[in-house]
Symmetry: C2
């Protein structure tokens, strides 16, 4: 029996919230899913087996970072990203489009693609839809993202429209580039990315064009770029509905725990974000009762766990007092422990949402979550 | 049956090299033993369960660091160092004497003790034999070190002699201070520290005075302070023999793998050193064929393990190419993996020495080690 290349089965809905499973050759992805970010072939401060133990089914790798260091061709010679970093389950790679605009220097954007200089060593590079597909193929990605431009949401409407149209032409070239790598395309999936910022009509045009091309899944792009939660939820009130209901919907770069709950409520199935790992390195822990700054002196003799409802290996072993000491002392173990807890918390949140959706009680779950997490009854 | 407070059983000797076991209430310590350094209540970049998995029976905690942050009284209120950092096996604490002289500011040394300012926040502190014993008791140390002064070996002989005499008076006060904490003294051990730098006659006087006071074990102090391996081995040719043969002998702050082999060869039973952990954070890996600098570009596509004779979780999972990438990228996982390997290598080296001594083949082991590690037949 051959495993499916890519299948998405919806098991239940509760309001607009959906739960299901994506089947791929490297394993299944339970949705709603949170993907820890493994920027440079490592989920920072975590061994991959510990990432898996938090409950992650899939991680994300960054095309921009990996093409610059160690280089896509090098990763391919070393047997691909999975082998290189010891993660044998699915990996989603972004296209490089977002980070080449936010991190690199001396960018030149043309119809063909983007020329830029590396933020690491100043070396010159070019990335286009075709090159992005090639890089993601060389990495051995399971879920490949179309190459797009992600403009700031506050740019003039005409700029947003032109950028979206360019991204849709690039989406078609991405589809063609992906399909031309027949061997990889036979086992990987390609997702398109909806753009249009905060404009409903542009989001509609983008969704129609992507659906026309046809993808395995659809991302809502161009959000979480500074527009704020209210504006983001405003777009999510309609944007996911524009995308095919039988395909997973992925909200890129999101977010805070309350962002995730609100987005699942609006029909999103997949997420990635650096927040749990980055916060972990800064001593910020996420809990069911809201975030905690472990640098705070009030934790110096607090013998309780980071979160008394959490069953992760950190919460069953270490006190807030110890982690406070580690964070204050700049000890690497502090970053390691808070990161591990945060990723565990994020996965527990996703599992909680999946269970509630399956039970048809998502609204109650969301209300209870907000009461405890935000301290509000909203 | 009550476990012994402290017992040392020699199982075999091979030349001057000895192997045996120390029994304490929190567990046994196989000798020759290497103690990873857990300066600030953490063996840097390692979870304690991973430290144990490398084969460590005991770790070291630093009195100087812990008294300043989080503070000995605080650690005591939190249930002691073992509970605080999740290490339930023996912990040896140093006396603070060495680091107060090397790290702190504005030191004033008197017969009573040392006044100094914290290198962290400039706060004023005092440490004396009595206070050192109290701190180590508050931490809940299993092996307590006498408070001493550790002068540079290149100071004039008269200074070395005066310093040694002061340390011997402090050793007696340490003994009395330790014994006055009856509850702690009933389950912990106290080690004295021989001084005298490179002077055989002073080392003899120091050994006689310590033996006269009586300790559970004896450290050779005042070495590994810049004198070089040849001078250190010169002292080790006679100093361990001056100490009671039925007690463990501990060489403080040593050392490189070839230092350990040469010291065991001269009758040393215990070691501690930051080298495997500090080198791990700097991307230097220890192997049976000598140290490797993982930053070196020659490892960029090297698919082999750090050490092809090593069976540690790092060597069975990750390539030199991957670790090179992590180290070059400044990723925390690079520090974590090389540290774990280095501590595993150090424990494998100790285990190899113990086996060879038990088999009566230590000389062959040492010769083979030097041939492979140093690339010499010496």
């Amino acid at each position: 029996m051959t495993l499916p290349r890519f299948s998405f089965t919806l098991h239940a809905t509760s309001g607009k919230a959906r739960t299901g499973v994506i089947q791929m050759q490297r394993g299944e992805i339970r949705t709603p899913a949170f993907m820890p970010v493994g920027t440079a072939a490592t989920v920072k401060a975590m061994k991959p087996e510990a990432v898996r133990q938090t409950g992650a089914d899939i991680i994300l790798g960054n095309t921009y970072h990996l093409m610059l260091r160690p280089g896509a061709e090098r990763v391919a010679r070393l047997g691909g990203l999975h082998k290189f970093m010891n993660w044998d389950r699915p990996i989603l790679t972004d296209s490089g489009g977002y980070q080449v605009m936010s991190l690199s220097e001396l960018r030149k954007l043309t119809e063909q693609g983007v020329e830029f200089r590396s933020h690491i060593d100043g070396s010159k590079h070019m990335i286009s839809p075709e090159r992005s597909m090639e890089i993601q193929r060389l990495l051995g990605s399971d879920i490949v993202m179309a190459f797009d431009e992600c403009p700031r949401a506050d740019r003039p409407r005409d700029d947003i429209a032109a950028s979206m149209e360019l991204s849709m032409r690039w989406a078609r070239r991405s589809r063609e580039g992906f399909d031309s790598g027949a061997e990889h395309a036979a086992r990987a999936a390609l997702f398109g990315i909806q753009q249009g910022a905060l404009h409903e009509d542009l989001r509609r045009i983008s969704a129609d064009k992507l659906t026309d091309i046809g993808f395995d899944g659809y991302a809502v792009g161009g959000l979480a770029v500074g527009e704020g939660q209210e504006a983001m939820f405003g777009v999510l009130d309609y944007a996911p509905d524009m995308l095919p209901a039988d395909r997973p919907r992925y909200l890129m770069g999101v977010g805070k725990p309350d962002d995730l709950v609100g987005a699942v409520e609006r029909g999103i199935d997949m997420f990635d974000c650096v927040l749990p790992t980055r916060s972990g390195r800064n001593g910020q822990a996420f809990t069911w009762n809201g975030p905690l700054n472990l640098r705070n002196a009030r934790f110096a003799e607090d013998t309780g766990p980071l979160d008394d409802r959490c069953t992760c290996p950190v919460c069953t072993t270490y006190s807030r007092a110890y982690i406070h000491h580690l964070v204050k002392s700049g000890e690497m173990l502090g970053a390691m422990l808070v990161t591990e807890h945060n990723l565990s918390f994020y996965q527990a949140l996703m599992a909680g949402m999946r269970t509630a959706i399956a039970a048809g009680t998502f609204a109650e779950f969301a209300a209870t979550f907000r009461r405890d997490y935000l301290g509000s009854s909203a």
